[in-house]
Symmetry: C2
DNA sequence: CACATAAGTGAGTTATCACTTACAAGTGAG
DNA sequence: CTCACTTGTAAGTGATAACTCACTTATGTG
């Protein structure tokens, strides 16, 4: 800490750490991420990170929660004012734009799914995903088959985006993207 | 190596290492896995692992290739003798059974998707996924929309299995699984 | 000004990381 | 038997991992 630096509240620092951890966890996952890198990026020392969050895993879980919160918020904003299948379509479009513009969020989600063999991670992912499903069902009033088809398309789109084949000219890639846009 | 142990060919050892690495990489991903743990599980010293594969990443890439090979083989076996939408249904069922019975394979796939921000991993995943799409399209003759809906359902099923909500009694979980079974 | 409390870090802990070097021993061919 | 080749490891490299301890310094309040 430089001598002229102003102190911040613990809450402000927590925010800074969570923001910094987004990228690191998205790129390397829970096990691969470095608390030292995160602390540096947040502008604090590594010991202070542990004072604020207790452990690397606690920080990760909070980071995953934020990730789902962000997605739900996007859903809400997109669906505002519409209902039924119109809302479904609006949410789908907004989600596509979201992960197209924020690859960090996309990576973070994929890491969270991959991290699901850890019970604590799984629990957080379940809660986050559950809230998304609940919301989509409530706002659209669609049938179980339609709601699950909606999320299926979303999961495929995640993988398409991860593989970065949106603009590929390979036949299988074009087929997959074309078919996906149809939904 | 115990004094009575028989020597094996390098090829046999490579197989043993690849088999051992499956689990470790599936659980922890490329960055989180330990070459020491893998070598021990394969019954060799850690230095020899590096002689056989060059680097941790090379081993990982080979492991991911195997993962997709295994899935494609399952597809082929399932579709044998059928065609059209009948083949699609047979492959879907076989895939469901595959990841239900082999959680390691499921985890390995999710880790591979999450690892896609690394260009080398992405390239291997692209190739593997592409072969799956090519095969499914060829054997089923289905439309792009149907093929992509098929893979979308598969991706959702991956996440359902990862979250372990197949037998959950939460409403959103039942809705998602029910809708998914309908496809 | 004094004092409790909160913010923040330097220096260390032990363990493990990927990877290398140098060397030993089994094995098949001539 | 011998010699080239392959299989295999013991012992180490420096770097970095998560996390702790002892300590300092700023800040709001009476």
């Amino acid at each position: 800490m430089s001598p002229t630096a102003q102190r911040q509240t613990a809450e402000e620092r927590r925010e800074a750490v969570l923001e910094a951890s987004r990228k690191e966890f998205a790129e390397h996952g829970l096990h691969g991420a470095s608390t030292d890198v995160i602390a540096r990026a947040a502008g604090i020392s590594q010991p202070y990170l542990f004072r604020l969050f207790g452990s690397k895993k606690e920080l990760y879980l909070e980071s995953v929660r934020r990730c789902f919160d962000r997605t739900l918020e996007t859903f809400r904003t997109a669906a505002a004012g519409s209902a039924g299948h119109e809302a479904l379509r609006a949410i789908g479009l907004a989600y596509g734009e979201l992960i197209e513009s924020d690859r960090v969020l996309l990576q973070a989600q994929l890491q969270a799914y991959a991290g699901c063999d850890d019970p604590d991670v799984r629990e957080v992912v379940r809660r986050g995903f559950g809230r998304l499903v609940d919301y989509v069902e409530a706002v659209s009033g669609a049938s179980p088959a339609d709601v699950s088809a909606f999320f299926a398309t979303g999961m495929l789109y995640n993988v398409i985006a991860a593989m970065e084949i949106e603009n590929s000219d390979e036949p299988w890639a074009r087929l997959l993207c074309e078919g996906c846009r149809g939904h």
